[in-house]
């Protein structure tokens, strides 16, 4: 019942904040957001699952099931629980939401109670996304997440907020519909009597089809795989489906950007891992080269785009596209290091990109500009922010002892060990992305933070407010903790991805034949 309690408490908090007066909304929301943080940390302490949630052999932590809808040929049940993949993401969501609320205190001055209420409502939905194990429950929460983000961008965003909000909403809803139809068509063809993800996974593993609409089992699987892949790739986002992201990020208020980059993008890769790669590993294997091309193009193209930007927020936004490409590369490698690294990278990138956006936000709060050309040498005026920003950038580049390092190293090891054609080549090219990241981040840092002071703005550059400083310092400490002791999460992640690799030995078997 702990997961239900966690979601319920967050939801009730959202309602309470909505009804609270603007004056106290921010402080109340932060105080209430500590409840889910405490709850998720307690869950983390009590965590006793083993194996992968979608395999019948695995045991879940905090699992509950209840009947929801029994009519029709397919039962829909409330089924939640966590395994080693979802547990770290639950912790990430609660912690990041709490800090994002803190970082909203300065920039959000209008309709505050609504803003904080939506943040908490989004957290409640995110917790549902990462814990649901029945497709319908999962889908309800998945769609729930869109609604608050649409309002957060649309109401509190920048000058082109309406366009950005609609674009975000349309893109992700079309993607959801395609994914929904793909998955439902697949389940209708299977010999199962519920939408339970565990039942579907095992039915697919045994190839127990009741019908295939005359397409043949293999074709149907491929069609369903790509319908879902399309749906999730928009969310991740993967080039060429990424165009909503820069608009959404640039227009969104900073706390919403933190949530968008830190947690919402991870929904896409999390869903890919659960649906595409756990349920249909055979198709993923057959089309590994195609998926790897998407991944590598995202890495390189995203990095190149970031290099060309003048707006700090756009730089970070495009670099997210690049970083999420690594996650997909890790998934497609489909070995212990690749899958484990990809999952770890979701958490690490969640923390680091959230931190980067917060730093940009802190600078913007003070300087009221984010343009690289407008600012120079502000490190003297804002020493703590500058230090944290530099640390975050190094984390992004994958400096050892930072969280990004562990994730990326595992992904690259996995990539080199992968056995799909040209895997080593893909990995080598993707690694080149790191160099570009280092390039654009150092370049931006050097111009904005260091050198002679100048600020093309009407505002005085003063040190950041103490709550902003607190938020970014906590976050950078978490990045360092996770980098020096990755086993905090990595142990449980490894435990959850091992069964995937074991159940699909073809993925790691060396291909016979002439490839590479």
């Amino acid at each position: 019942m702990l997961i239900e309690a966690l979601i319920a408490v967050t939801f009730v908090s959202a309602v309470a904040v909505m009804l609270a007066p603007d004056k106290i909304a921010g402080k109340l929301a932060f105080a209430l957001s500590l409840l889910p943080v405490a709850g998720s940390l307690w869950m983390f302490g009590q965590y006793d699952a083993s194996g992968n949630a979608l395999f019948e052999a695995g045991t879940l932590a905090f699992e509950t099931t209840a009947k929801w809808i029994t009519v029709g040929p397919y039962a829909l049940n409330w089924h939640v629980g966590v395994d080693g993949i979802s547990m770290p993401l639950v912790v990430l969501s609660t912690v990041l939401t709490s800090l994002a609320i803190l970082s909203a205190w300065t920039p959000i001055q209008e309709r505050q109670s609504q803003f904080y209420s939506l943040m908490l409502f989004m957290l409640a939905s995110l917790l549902g996304v990462f814990t649901a194990l029945d497709f319908f429950v999962w889908f309800v929460f998945w769609e729930f997440v869109l609604v608050p983000m649409y309002f957060l961008i649309g109401i509190w965003g920048g000058p082109r907020r309406k366009y950005a909000a609609i674009k975000f909403f349309v893109y992700t809803n079309v993607a959801s519909l395609v994914m929904f139809i793909g998955f439902v068509a697949l389940v209708f063809a299977l010999d199962v009597n519920s939408f339970d993800m565990i039942a579907v996974t095992s039915a697919l593993a045994n190839d127990s089809f009741a019908t295939t609409y005359g397409l043949g089992a293999e074709t149907l699987k491929v069609v369903a795989f790509f319908a879902m892949f399309f749906g999730f790739a928009v969310k991740v986002p993967t080039v060429p489906l990424h165009t909503w992201l820069p608009d959404a990020h640039v227009q969104a208020p900073t706390p919403a950007s933190v949530m968008l980059a830190g947690v919402l993008l991870k929904m896409g890769t999390y869903a890919m891992l659960r649906f595409n790669f756990t349920m249909l590993p055979g198709v993923a294997r057959d089309y590994a080269v195609l998926i790897a091309i998407f991944a590598v193009v995202s890495v390189i193209y995203g990095a190149m785009l970031a290099l060309a930007q003048q707006d700090l927020k756009r730089i970070v936004a495009y670099s997210s596209v690049s970083s999420m490409g690594y996650v997909i590369l890790g998934l497609v490698a489909y070995n212990v290091y690749g899958l484990g690294g990809a999952t770890f990278q979701m958490v690490a990138h969640g923390l680091i990109s959230g931190l980067m956006f917060m730093c940009v936000g802190v600078i913007y709060n003070v300087a009221h500009t984010r343009m690289v050309g407008d600012l120079s040498g502000i490190a003297d005026k804002m020493p703590v922010t500058a230090a944290v920003f530099v640390a975050a950038a190094f984390g992004y580049m994958g400096l050892p002892l930072m969280a990004g390092f562990a994730g990326e190293v595992f992904i690259f090891i996995g990539g080199f060990q992968a056995t799909f054609p040209y895997a080593q080549l893909f990995t080598a090219v993707a690694m080149f992305g790191i160099v570009v990241v280092a390039g654009y981040l150092l370049f931006a840092m050097q111009r904005v933070l260091f050198g002679p002071f100048s600020a093309d703005t009407d505002y005085d550059i003063v040190p950041a407010a103490s709550h902003d400083t607190f938020a970014i310092v906590v976050l950078v400490l978490l990045v360092i903790v996770l980098g020096t002791a990755p086993e905090v999460f990595y142990g449980m992640i490894q435990d959850a991805v091992n069964p995937m690799v074991d159940s699909f030995p073809e993925a790691t078997a060396v291909l016979t034949g002439g490839e590479l």
């Binding site: 909505m18 009519v71 029709g72």
Partner: protein, 494 residues
């Protein structure tokens, strides 16, 4: 212990209407809006509660035949009595504020209750005579109600259009009934079913069935008798629009479900007279597509909702379109899904129209632009409106997502995957115009002089209650769907 008659919901509503007249006779010249609204709300909610109670108590396959088969009480009639009763409750509660400054209040409330009585009787009608009489009992008060704001040109014009098309379709329907009587020699649905098998006058019977379908198309605002709906809904007082587009539509479907499945079983008439499921396939596709595309081009919110209501009629028609002879389980499922969608739709659509009523009460104007920034002034009502809009579009914030899923899945199971695909595309498209309202009220900036006078208790209560019901239906969806599918099973088990 006294045993209540099976027709209690209908009796309660009828008595309530008479009590309202009585109150007006006793004190004709005093303003008593609260008293009248209170009596009406008590009557309608009692009718709805009785229907639920009967449904819960009657766990078996009950079917009470009344008046030698002219009326029948079964799960279907009680299910629709609940829809009509609960929608009517929301409508009268909202009307308390909406019509408080009008004259002839007793007439207003009693006409609403009389129409509700007619609608619940439609759901029970088991003979073509009672079908016709009940339909007229529901329609005649509706004409007067649409034209209730008699100094308002739009309202009067809407009432006249509604009346003329209604009269036309009643005539068509009566003629259809006479043709059916000519072929079968009876008006009782059960007896017609026995007589249609092996009739020699298949052509005449077929014509009669098609004309009957025309009458139902009018009541449910489906193509080709949908023209009145946008006019009537836009011109009518908004609570009446809510009432007509939710309860009246549901009642029209109730009677269509019963007449077509009981009197004209597909396996009997498909070969000899007319395959009416084919007719409904065409009507469903045209109705949903026309409704959705027309809704997307509207400038005023109320008219958009009117066309969206036509679109939803198209979805519900799939319940009749996907029926096939001999496929009992699939038939019960898809018909039950249609009924479930009507119930969920009853709450979300009523709520949406009542929000429009709230906006009219505040005099903010009719277009999307006039709604700009309403959320800055009335956030709670706007949360409810957002729930209605997203739920109507099929996003899983309310029961609309599940009822649409059930309906589409039922259609696929019945072998009409292409029809479900058309519906899914329409449904995805509908998000465009529903989200325009959401965008206007939340995201656009209010004009500087946007001030709202007060928070009217009745309207707020009704809007919030409808919103809560819509959300609750997402969680507590199972009992509703179970009941509906069971009702359909009882219908097919005859």
């Amino acid at each position: 212990m006294v045993e209540l008659p099976p027709l209690t919901p209908q009796i309660v509503l009828g008595v309530t209407a008479i009590v309202l007249f009585g109150v007006d006779i006793v004190a004709p010249n005093t303003r008593k809006n609260g008293l009248l609204a209170g009596i009406s709300a008590a009557g309608t909610s009692l009718a709805a509660a009785t229907a639920v109670w009967f449904l819960a108590a009657g766990t078996g396959d009950f079917r009470f035949v009344q008046f030698d088969g002219a009326l029948v009480v079964d799960a279907l009639s009680l299910f629709f009595a609940f829809i009509v009763g609960s929608v009517a409750t929301l409508v009268v509660v909202a009307s308390y504020d909406y019509v408080r400054e009008e004259d002839h209040l007793a007439e207003f409330y009693s006409l609403v209750i009389l129409a509700a009585t007619g609608m619940t009787l439609m759901a029970s009608a088991n003979s073509l005579v009672t079908v016709f009489v009940a339909l007229e009992l529901a329609s005649l008060p509706s004409y007067a109600l649409v034209a209730f704001l008699k100094t308002n040109r739009g309202s009067v014009e809407a009432g006249l259009k509604y009346f003329l098309i209604g009269a036309l379709s009643s005539a068509v329907m009566a003629y259809g009934i006479s043709l059916i009587y000519a072929t079968t020699g009876t008006l009782l649905l059960d007896d017609i079913a026995a007589a249609v098998t092996g009739t020699e006058l298949g052509g005449v019977l077929g014509l009669g069935i098609v004309m009957l379908a025309g009458g139902f198309a009018f009541k449910t605002a489906s193509v080709p008798f949908h023209f009145w709906a946008p006019e009537a809904y836009e011109g009518a007082p908004a609570p009446i629009s809510a009432f007509l587009s939710s309860a009246s539509k549901a009642a029209g479907f109730a009677v269509a479900f019963r007449v077509f499945t009981t009197a004209f079983p597909l396996d009997a008439v498909a070969a000899t007279a007319v395959d009416w499921s084919l007719l409904f396939v065409v009507l469903a596709v045209v109705t949903m597509t026309l409704g959705n595309f027309a809704a997307a081009t509207q400038d005023t919110v109320k008219r958009m909702l009117a066309y969206s209501s036509i679109g939803h009629a198209g979805y519900v028609l799939m319940g009749l379109a996907a029926l096939q002879s001999g496929a009992t389980d699939a038939n019960s499922f898809v018909l039950g899904a249609s009924m479930t969608h009507l119930l969920v739709y009853g709450f979300m659509n009523t709520g949406a129209f009542l929000f429009v009523a709230l906006a009219e009460y505040w005099d903010v104007g009719r277009t999307f632009e006039d709604y700009n920034g309403l959320a800055t002034r009335a956030p709670v009502a706007c949360v409810a409106m957002t729930v209605f809009m997203f739920s109507l579009a099929g996003l899983p914030v309310g029961g609309g997502f599940l009822s649409k899923y059930l309906l589409f899945a039922g259609t696929v199971q019945a072998g009409f995957a292409w029809l479900a695909a058309v519906a899914a595309i329409n449904s995805a498209l509908s998000l465009y115009y529903y989200s325009r309202v959401v965008k206007a009220i939340w995201i656009e900036d209010p004009s500087d002089d946007l001030t709202l006078r007060g928070t009217p208790t009745g309207l707020y209560t009704a809007v919030i209650a409808a919103g809560v019901a819509t959300v609750v239906l997402l969680v507590a969806f199972d009992p509703v769907a179970q009941t509906a599918i069971h009702a359909a099973e009882v219908l097919f088990a005859l």
